[in-house]
């Protein structure tokens, strides 16, 4: 199973589309934005180079967790690869657990690279403890998005899963204020954004870099979404792999 996870990760890293959208894109976007706004600070006194770092890392993590789960999973289900695995001694729970682990591992490159770009190009410096907390929180916080990706992949065909995952990803990125501050969305949309896991996910990171601890509301909302979407994913996964 470990080898299976390793192989899964390897194959995603060989996928050019994945590398571009998920790893290169957030880094580029960060560098462009940070070079324009990076020397300003927000009302709380935090430099935009840091705020943007969190937003772009969050976007990269969101994109990675959805792209590495929904489409490959839908494709494998449809193409017969899943059946090939189902007739080996590998238990069926191990398949989805491996997908989950792989998606989590693949989030790390975008988190680390955006942070690295921030340190090297913008001279961002945080204490070691803050870095550790930030990466850990941003890493585990992607669980709802991985679950959403697996749920999409369990329900839709490969052709439909691609746009569905993209739309969900963009909607979550915009609503979560990952691309521009949520205030520009207007009142109605801001209210909607307040319910999304991505908004609270980004806030987890922002709270840490601003020096105040995690807001329990953010933790609960992200965890709640993780539980809800995780439950949905498991249910849909079982339905998708049921032996009639």
């Amino acid at each position: 199973m470990l080898y299976y996870a390793k192989t899964e990760a390897l194959r995603m890293l060989r996928n050019r589309r994945y590398i571009f959208f998920v790893v290169a894109f957030p880094v580029l976007l960060y560098l462009i934005n940070a070079n324009i706004y990076g020397n300003q600070t927000n009302p709380g006194g935090v430099s935009y180079s840091v705020i943007l770092m969190v937003s772009m890392a969050a976007y990269g993590a969101l994109a990675s967790s959805m792209m590495s789960s929904a489409v490959p999973w839908a494709t494998e289900r449809q193409s017969g690869w899943l059946r090939q695995l189902q007739i080996t001694p590998l238990p069926s729970w191990a398949i989805i657990v491996t997908k989950l682990i792989t998606a989590l591992v693949l989030v790390l490159p975008s988190l680390v690279l955006v942070s690295l770009a921030a340190v090297l190009q913008q001279g961002v410096s945080l204490s070691l403890g803050t870095w550790a907390e930030l990466l850990l929180v941003m890493w585990l916080g992607v669980l709802p998005f991985v679950a959403l990706g697996l749920a999409i992949g369990s329900v839709l065909s490969a052709d439909a899963a691609q746009p569905a995952a993209m739309i969900c990803m963009f909607a979550l990125a915009i609503a979560g204020g990952l691309w521009f501050p949520p205030e520009v969305l207007g009142d109605t949309l801001s209210t909607v954004a307040d319910f999304t896991p991505s908004f609270h996910y980004a806030r987890l990171g922002q709270s840490l870099v601003a020096g105040h601890g995690l807001d329990m509301t953010d933790v609960l909302v992200v965890a709640g979404w993780a539980v809800a979407l995780g439950g949905a994913a498991v249910h849909l996964y079982r339905r998708a792999t049921v032996r009639a």
Binding site: Y3, L10, R11, R14, G80, T88, P89, R243
Partner: protein, 294 residues
């Protein structure tokens, strides 16, 4: 103990009856062809054996256990129809991935050799031709050294060369006392590559035996001669004859035993037999006769 047992198995898909009261036992070490036209229930039977489908009625057992248990124990390997590969992985990586999921797999080099993939080992799956992909799927099926190997129309998309090599690999694999069941609608494949042929049509067992027995049993031999205006009566009572056709003065006797029929024809009748023709065992004729009846 039998390797594979179907005990009064039926499988419905809604109103469609894909497998209809099928009973069948296969001994370990046999290579059996599951022969039937498209839609006869071949794939359904294979999926039932793998536990990918559950029978509506009856039971399927593999080495006396349920298919799920056998799959978990790594006893089954299969080449299914439309099985895709992961495009970003090389042949070697794919084979290694699957073999590591089994408790007692074959060695990587041995698998690649049996499937004739040694030269293609480093190639990515999305750069393979149709026939090459099929060979990779064969490699995946045998990777775990399963005691039972199921092949669902394994030579589809293969050219002649690939086919020859594929069957050679299959025979090498089966030679280790393993049980092989392959589904095909190619008669010559069933004839050449199996110890036993099971013919199914419309989900039912139509015939079961060696290729030679099936040809004989279905009256695959014919004896024909110019009858002219001599009487037809009595020809159908000759030894071995299963059917008589007369067309434009030519009598065609379908028989299960050409020798007995000829002896009866010359010794037991006073007919003037001219233009005698014998046509031999033809599995295609047998197959058509069998699948038409049912």
């Amino acid at each position: 103990m039998n390797a594979i047992v179907f005990d009064h198995v039926s499988k419905h898909y809604g109103d469609v009856l894909a497998v209809d009261d099928l009973s069948l036992a296969i001994e370990p070490g046999n290579t059996v062809a599951l022969l039937g036209p498209n839609g006869a229930g071949k794939s359904t039977s294979i999926n039932l054996l793998l536990g990918l489908l559950k029978p509506t009625a009856g039971t399927v057992t593999v080495h006396g256990r349920s298919p799920d248990t056998a799959v978990k124990a790594g006893e089954m390997g299969a080449m299914l129809q439309n099985g895709a590969l992961i495009p970003e992985l090389s042949v070697r990586e794919l084979v290694d991935l699957v073999r590591r999921l089994y408790p007692r797999p074959l060695g990587l080099d041995e698998i690649l050799k049996l499937a004739d993939l040694t030269e293609l080992a480093g190639r990515r799956a999305n750069k393979l031709s149709g026939g090459q992909s099929q060979r990779v799927r064969f490699a995946l099926a045998i990777a775990g050294a399963p005691r039972i190997l199921l092949l669902d129309e394994p030579t589809a998309a293969m050219d002649v060369e690939s086919r020859l090599r594929f069957w050679a690999g299959m025979h090498d694999y089966a030679a280790g006392g393993r049980t092989v069941l392959f589904a095909t609608h190619y008669l010559e494949e069933a004839d050449e590559h199996s110890d036993r042929v099971v013919v199914i049509a419309k989900g039912r067992l139509a015939a079961d035996g060696t290729a030679a027995e099936i040809k004989a049993g279905a009256g695959g031999h014919t004896v024909s001669f110019a009858l002219g205006d001599q009487p037809v009566a009595g020809l159908d009572r000759l030894p071995g004859v299963t059917a008589v056709e007369v067309d434009a003065g030519t009598a065609v006797l379908h028989t299960t035993d050409t020798d007995a029929t000829l002896a009866g024809l010359f010794r037991g009748t006073t007919l003037d037999v001219r233009d005698l023709k014998l046509s031999g065992a033809d599995l295609e004729a047998a197959f058509l006769a069998l699948t038409r009846e049912s």
